[in-house]
Symmetry: C2
Subunit: 338 residues, 2 copies
């Protein structure tokens, strides 16, 4: 298995990508190809005394920036590390692609270069978030600002299969994000999606209010990419707010510092619990081959975990399962229409 | 000044409403009228040995439940405490109305009974949230699931005036909630609202990503009522998630319990900082007279603070200021069109 990694995506590229790749190659028994400016990758490794002899490198002359138009990845910047990496995946030279670069460009590239699973309307960014109990998958967390009900229904199905196959959740509880739990709540989008989800081959538990998401009351929560992105970022912001407050609390004055020493193991457990890097990256569900978006601020550990996730994504047949489920849905739709 | 309170709104009615009213009457020098079943109010006070001789009571036979259709407040349940209270406000028998009951019914009642400020398209629920620095006003946090750009522009203006007059923020920083900071980000709603806000008489600082909201990077953040409600509830849920984790951390094992004792004052400061009850309730901006939605789980302290807020809302002339600003906007619009 060959995992293709964008060496120049994210805030800490290429150093942290290289570090994560070395560790992952050692521990997971996969091949890894780093895509990007070969000279820069080599000199970064040399400067940091990192042995990259076990990694492959595929040269790509440029990098697409988060500020650039996402469509540049298939237009002016076909030679950027992200485009070259996705082309490798599409051509069968790799089994999964992983990047911490521009989300917009990754979505465009996954759609146009890697292509979608037949029948899937749009790929969705699926982020796994920590909760008070088990992690929850939020999708779409930012690929499509505007969504239609059939898209949300497909997201529910794809998220459900992923959580079952990769996170080993039996019969994942799927919920629709809404402003109330009653079936009559929400906009046209939620009303129509609700009735579709009742019929879909998922364990639909109804609407969920956003307050219940961090308490772990569902395994998969679906919404449009605008709302999902707002939720994802608020999750992040609230996490930062609280951990900063906690840190201030534990470092203000002698007595507090002493107390901090005493509860340090618990604080570390807590930090680990709310640490997104534990879950790897966000799969772009609906792409015809495994594409994973790592967080922009990923460090070596996050890249390491994302490679593990990419391996599982490839091995567990999530995409085959999705293709099969789609065919079944279409079939049952036909029978109903007859 | 007479503050009219729905004695039967919220999870802790009527006891906590009565307690909050007694304390507020004593401290703020206002008259308070409790609206609801007179017999039940009197017996509740008696059972709890509360002296309500200083409060007025206006009898209302029924209560509108959160599960009922909001429009019932102007149809089948005209005799409910919420409808009777708002009628009093509309008729000039009170200066502000306060309820912890159904948000939907309150919005309908504010629109149809109290009426809107002339020119205001829709009233918005404006919630004040704690942040790492100063509190932020989020609106619309749930009155209108679907919004148009002109509505969001009015929300920005009303929120700005409120934060200036009541919270004493000089030139409040107004931001539009979006999935990126660039002007080109978002749905049609955000694109059109952005260009309107640039021209509006507010200190518009551009788009804000949700992650920056809890860090206090704006004073007023505007969005549609669907997104706003999701944000509000996620804020709540994340707060619950973290405080539960913190509590678990501070009560697991002898060493941690000892540490907890040492940092207790800081924990209390933290809890106070993230306690919504400190800010009173959410004003329904755009109604022709002060209407405040208290949180459904409000306790006596929250009702007490909501009365203080209702008093300030009435005294500081937020509504007059809004009416003036609207007239000016209309005027400048006319000049531009000529």
């Amino acid at each position: 298995m060959n995992i293709v990694m964008d060496a120049f995506g994210g805030d800490n590229a290429p150093l942290e990508v290289i570090k994560g790749a070395i560790d992952a190659k050692r521990d997971f028994g996969v091949d890894i190809t780093l895509v990007g400016d070969e000279q820069r990758i080599k000199s970064c490794a040399k400067e940091n005394a990192l042995d990259i002899s076990g990694l492959k490198i595929r040269h790509a002359a440029t990098v697409i920036d988060v500020c650039e138009e996402p469509t540049e990845v298939i237009k002016g910047k076909k030679d950027c590390s992200m485009a070259v990496g996705m082309k490798m995946l599409a051509d069968g030279q790799g089994d999964a692609f992983l990047s911490a670069g521009s989300t917009g460009a990754l979505v465009v590239g996954a759609t146009m270069i890697v292509k979608r699973i037949k029948g899937i309307k749009r790929p969705a960014l699926a982020t796994i978030l920590p909760t008070a109990s088990d992690p929850v998958m939020l999708l779409d967390s930012g690929a499509n600002a505007d969504c239609r009900p059939e898209m949300l229904t497909q997201f529910a199905m794809m998220g459900s299969i992923y959580m079952n196959k990769i996170m080993e959740v039996t019969s994942p509880r799927v919920a629709l994000v809404n402003i109330g739990t009653e079936e009559s709540k929400g906009r046209e989008l939620e009303l129509e999606t609700y009735s579709r989800l009742k019929e879909a081959p998922v364990n639909f538990i109804g609407n969920i209010e956003a307050r219940h998401v961090p308490l772990g009351e569902a395994d998969v929560v679906v919404t449009d990419g605008f709302t999902g992105n707002i939720m994802l970022k608020l999750y992040e912001g609230m996490g930062k707010f609280f951990t900063t407050e906690l840190k201030d609390m534990l470092t203000s004055g002698f007595k507090n510092k002493l107390a901090a020493l005493m509860i340090m193991p618990s604080v570390k457990d807590f930090k680990k619990k709310v640490d997104y890097t534990e879950y790897g990256g966000a799969p772009l569900l609906g792409a015809a081959k495994p594409v994973i978006k790592a967080h922009g601020s990923s460090n070596a550990k996050a890249f390491y975990n994302a490679v593990r996730q990419a391996k599982a994504f490839t091995e567990t047949g999530v995409i085959d399962e999705t293709t099969k489920a789609l065919a079944q849905m279409k079939e049952s739709q036909k029978i109903k229409e007859q």
